[in-house]
Symmetry: C2
Subunit: 272 residues, 2 copies
């Protein structure tokens, strides 16, 4: 079984980059698995930027993968697709500025991926399962792997290493490899969260942000937001309230989503 561990799909998310480099430098191996290490976006890693031309983790659409392009990440996506053609399982490492702990993201209803996620959620207190089946901006790297999990770790600033979270994530990654090695299975279902919508920052006519995440919501990823809860506070100190049915907020105040206009995502509790 060939397992790819990728870091640096986003070049300013250092944890995955240095975790991959560490395992590479140590020639880390595990019996019965063919390990492959991928630093996915070398140019962005070098410049410590999320991407050069376009978000690589939104560049795996069928059309972008088959058409010629002058965008660095679209070309990179083709190279990665080819690189992953014999990959059986992908572990893709990310960080977030949101307080997401160690979130295992599932991007399809694939049984082996779900099994791994469930065992991790069963064993690690800080692991939660989040299902995110796609973005309107483009497809994730996961679509070119037959089975995969994405690990999102936070809160960590872009361009920064947090040693505590580094070693926690390393432990989780090693456990994933162990599960794949032993083909261990878990019965029953586990709690998960399904992203179903994104909430944008309030903006003015010039498309300028006019409010920030409310202090009451900051850092409260995976907590329930009720109708009427304050969610934003304007630069003029005006409060903005949640006007929907209750939901669980995730990716609250993620730096990379500002340019997309996204303030946080809504999820509902489910089971996988």
């Amino acid at each position: 079984m060939r397992v790819t561990i990728s870091g640096g799909v986003h070049g300013n998310e250092l944890l995955g980059i240095y975790l991959v480099k560490k395992l590479q430098n140590e020639s880390f191996s595990i019996k019965g698995l063919e390990l492959d290490f991928l630093l996915a976006n070398p140019k962005a890693i070098k410049e410590c930027r999320r991407y050069i031309d376009y978000d690589l983790n939104r560049s795996f659409n069928t059309d972008t993968l088959t058409q010629d392009s002058h965008l660095y990440e679209f070309e990179r996506a083709k190279v990665i697709k080819e690189h992953l053609k014999n990959c059986d399982f992908l572990i893709d490492l990310h960080t977030t500025t949101a307080n997401m702990g160690i979130t295992v993201v599932l991007s399809s209803r694939e049984q082996r991926s779900e099994n791994v996620a469930k065992i991790l959620a069963d064993e690690f207190d800080e692991v939660r399962i989040l299902r995110w089946f796609g973005s309107s901006e483009g497809d994730f790297i996961n679509v070119v792997a037959p089975a995969s999990i994405t690990i999102e770790v936070g809160a960590v600033c872009q361009g920064v290493l947090d040693s505590t979270l580094f070693f926690k994530t390393l432990k989780v990654v090693k456990r994933v490899l162990h599960i794949l090695q032993t083909k261990e299975q878990i019965d029953g279902s586990k709690e998960c969260y399904d992203i179903f919508e994104t909430i944008n920052f309030p903006r003015d006519a010039d498309n300028e942000i006019v409010a920030m995440i409310h202090p009451d919501l900051m850092g409260r990823d995976y907590s329930v937001v009720h109708r009427g809860d304050p969610i934003f506070i304007g630069f003029d100190e005006r409060e903005y309230f949640f006007e929907r049915d209750e939901a669980y907020a995730v990716f609250i105040n993620e730096a990379a989503y500002y340019e997309k206009g996204i303030a946080f995502c809504l999820s509902k509790k489910s089971a996988v």
Copy 2:
């Protein structure tokens, strides 16, 4: 008296940018002061990057200010120098990923700047005074203003707004303007910290980082580091210990300093 409030000397430090925009949009004024608002690095602000070609806040050297250059920030420094030629007092707004609270940085021994800093430290629990008289990489914007304070606010991630810190900083900025308006003076001296050295990340022969800030040091800006305290932890879990006389650590794990190789700065307690 002409007072300039500048944000966005670093384009990914959103607090100062949006604080300046807020005051501009509200046509904020204060009797007896001529207020001037400066978004210092428009290109970097647009791209949400620290800088385009070179750190603008290291671009105010006499030679770079007088020579032709193709670097965007060197040209921008000349424009800003001209912009500030009638400025009497500069308030320059920054954020840091280090846990620095609200730090008032003094970059010269100028009496009006010191007076403002001391009143702030006297009144606000979270305000500390840090003296930093220059960097080997180039001069700060402060050298082209006759009097100034820099306000460093953290911990905040690059590209992120923290509403609590935003309004705390706004309060401090308004108090500065009030002090300048009333010409209020404070007697006596106040505690301050003087930066005297920088500590680099341990690196290997290829100049690659091999260790991270130790969990025991993370977030402990302004606390004393003793000889023998653990300061780094390697990717291989090896611990690295402090081998100098005790000092106060500041700018611990600042994202922007990774490319400079700096892990944190050492300061000693003094009085201003």
